[in-house]
């Protein structure tokens, strides 16, 4: 009895149009839902996320001890991190854990302060925010 389900009369004459209609939605509508990790095993991917120090649009600038981004060569400031820090490394640093391999201990503290100043929309913020979420 269900064989007729396989054919849909409305699709018979349908010619795919290059100009598909795309509704932009109302200003108050929402089109993004972020899945928050709620289980211990999903935390793994969060800890593998990366935070560039500084963000790509500020590449080459130094990081001062207070976490601010300063011009290259500023006395007392630290060169950019040689590689993006992982969520796991940042989490450890936030809890006074070990300095990640290849990083100077004082520089790492400046990087952590920089990361603490990240705000929504900057590269690495989502990773940092996910570290703050209770699990």
């Amino acid at each position: 009895m269900s064989e007729s389900d396989h054919t849909s009369p409305s699709e018979g004459g349908f010619a795919p149009s290059r100009r598909t209609i795309l509704a932009l939605g109302a200003a108050a509508a929402s089109t993004v839902v972020t899945i928050r990790p709620a289980f211990a095993n999903t935390a793994v991917s969060v800890l593998n996320c990366q935070i560039p120090v500084p963000s790509p649009d500020q590449a080459g600038n130094f990081i001062a001890a207070d976490g601010s981004v300063v011009p290259p060569g500023t006395p007392g400031a630290f060169p950019p991190a040689p590689r993006p820090l992982t969520g796991e490394e940042v989490k450890a640093l936030l809890h006074n854990g070990p300095t990640p391999a290849g990083l100077d201990a004082d520089a790492a503290q400046a990087y952590v302060k920089y990361i603490g100043r990240l705000h929504a929309g900057t590269s690495g913020f989502t990773c940092f925010a996910s570290l703050q979420m209770p699990r």
């Binding site: 290059r18 598909t20 209609i21 932009l24 089109t31 993004v32 972020t34 996320c49």
Partner: protein
């Protein structure tokens, strides 16, 4: 009119799976997964590695789609704000 310029990560930074009308979007740099409704995936595609203002986003999407909106500038601004808050686009 010079509004803020936005950019999304290049396509290789994400894995997407189409779920009928929705899109599951795994963003590797942040390690987070998002469920996107149109036109969010189309906006991310238009900005992937190519910075642009809201007007440019509309123009790029408009090349492939007939845009339906009572107030396209307000709608696209709202969508960009959402994507920025989710960490999927950033100021270029």
């Amino acid at each position: 009119m010079a509004g803020p310029r936005f950019v999304a990560d290049p396509p290789e930074a994400a894995r997407t799976v189409a779920l009928e009308t929705l899109t599951a979007f795994y963003h590797a740099p942040s390690g987070t997964t998002h469920i996107l409704a149109p036109p969010a995936p189309q906006i991310l595609e238009a900005l992937a590695g190519r910075p642009g203002e809201a007007d440019e986003v509309l123009a790029r999407i408009g090349e492939r789609f007939e845009l339906a909106s009572d107030d396209a500038p307000a709608a696209i601004a709202a969508r960009l704000a959402e994507l920025e808050a989710a960490g999927l686009v950033r100021r270029a």
